[in-house]
Assembly symmetry: C2
């Protein structure tokens, strides 16, 4: 992927890409498919599965909006905050229980609006607050401690690790588990494992029955409420609105998508540049026959005056 | 340069580095020294030289603060806005003349403060407003049109192009000149030319007398008022406070510094990641014997809870 300005290349983004079926067989690869990648927020659909598997989703009467926001890296828009609050309320909790850390809302207009209102950002506004609310709801349902849910030794996190291992087809012992930006464990698996995991998430294939059922329910929630998973202007939302895919991006330029046709794709931009993810993903999906109407695998770069000054061009 | 999380590499930044003397001779290089780089804001000291060369600086009674802010990618802090306003006032102009485009102040606390106050960002708050004010002051002094100063055909921009060519030792005809983010021309020269340009800026060597004099005056203004050139928490300011160097970074991860000992260094992170510039530059300067007290060529990455999760490690 190159960034041009005038007639010259100003920047270069390298990356790796793997396409797998649900058995884990590689259909296409560029770069090393076995080198590990930290899943970051691409793990969120897996991290939300205990909501279904524990029975909490049914017992608490969670709707698709609440399940979708539990899988979200959301913009902090009003709809997102309402869904997170509702999820917490149904679990008998308040936003004070969230240990998701504080950052301004991802969507710049929302962040500006919040600053203008004089309100300080709280954990609720952070992009991971739905994931944390979902984790807390499972703890409340199971009668587990809600103060220590971020620890890897907590039964919830041990469960999530098992789910990630099973979904991605990797032995639990072989998954490095440091902390993510929001403080819960994150997971490294071979890029191939992430692609296979999304092929399974999208189809339920090659999974034990209960995990297959949870996969399809999470997939349906994300696909029915794509706005809840990200929000205005965001790639994951646009792709789920316009294609048959289930999609979840992560920090440091990770991207994963699964098709009901039985394949999953995982992409990692080596330098972690989020700007390269959209054109790279759109171009890759186009080659896979999952073309995205209205999205081009090429984006124009404009300056502060709106004048076109360059382009981001996928080379693979 | 690698970014680690837990025990694994999560990201990789590649780059090029050249060290030159004022004659343009290469003292050290990693990567291709001849491949062009867009100077972006690293050109600002050169773009400010017409203020000195035209006699405007003396005629308008500009102080070091005003010259330094004309070379700045500033944070939009109060001191910066005051210096830009003062520069415009001395030139008989107001901030309405600025065509530098609108973006929120670079320094997040200032941007938040501005949003909280209900004020909208104006061109004055943009990091390039000092450069634009300096360009306008030259136009006012010379009796040139102040409405079209962004055009490459304007006498000011033709002059700046000649200065960049002479400072960097490149034929004017060989310099691609598309627009920068703020709408004025930017320039591509071989990375070697940028390093040589900063060796000349720092010493006045290998330059015609008037350009040598202008170089040293600009250098002195930047070095006496390092806060004006960037601001709180910024690399250029810290390096000029702690070393003998004259330093100016640019967008897309360009970094240039010149030493009074007669060498200049230019660095470009290929993917444009600004987070890689500080550790790479500090490590490179350390190897060049211009070690920076209190700065390490290695930085810790912390999550939203302040917990250390990884490190940025320069490999060269």
């Amino acid at each position: 992927m190159v960034l041009t300005r005038g007639g010259l290349v100003e920047g270069v983004h390298r990356g790796r890409l793997v396409v797998c079926d649900a058995s884990g067989a590689i259909l296409e690869a560029a770069g090393d498919p076995e080198f590990p990648v930290y899943l970051r927020s691409s793990a969120k659909p897996f991290q939300a599965m205990p909501l279904v598997l524990s029975g909490a989703a049914d017992a608490l009467g969670l709707g698709e909006e609440e399940l979708a926001v539990a899988c979200a890296s959301h913009n902090g828009e009003q709809e997102h905050l309402a869904a997170v609050r509702s999820l917490l309320r149904k679990a008998g909790l308040t936003e004070e229980a969230l240990q998701s850390g504080v950052h301004p809302p991802l969507h710049a207009p929302v962040a500006e609006e919040l600053a203008r209102s004089g309100e300080r950002p709280r954990p609720l506004h952070g992009n991971c607050s739905g994931k944390h609310a979902g984790m807390l709801a499972v703890c409340a349902h199971q009668g587990w401690d809600t103060g220590s849910y971020r620890e890897l030794t907590h039964p919830l996190q041990r469960w999530v690790l098992e789910i990630v291992a099973r979904m991605c087809g990797v032995e639990r012992e072989n998954i490095p588990v440091p902390r993510d930006g929001c403080g819960v464990p994150t997971f490294a698996v071979p890029l191939r494992g992430l692609a296979a995991g999304f092929a399974r998430l999208a189809t339920g294939r090659e999974l034990p029955d209960r995990l297959a059922e949870a996969s399809l329910r999470i997939r349906e929630a994300m696909r029915s409420r794509p706005f809840m998973v990200a929000g205005t202007g965001r790639l994951d939302t646009a792709l789920m609105q316009k294609t048959e895919l289930v999609v979840k991006s992560g920090a440091e330029a990770v991207f994963a998508a699964g098709s009901p046709e039985g394949w999953g794709v995982a992409l990692k931009i080596s330098d972690g540049a989020s700007r390269a993810v959209r054109p790279a993903a759109v171009a890759a999906l186009g080659r896979l026959g999952a073309g995205v109407p209205g999205e081009r695998g090429l984006s124009e770069v404009r300056n502060l005056h709106g004048e076109p000054v360059g382009r981001l061009i996928p080379l693979v």
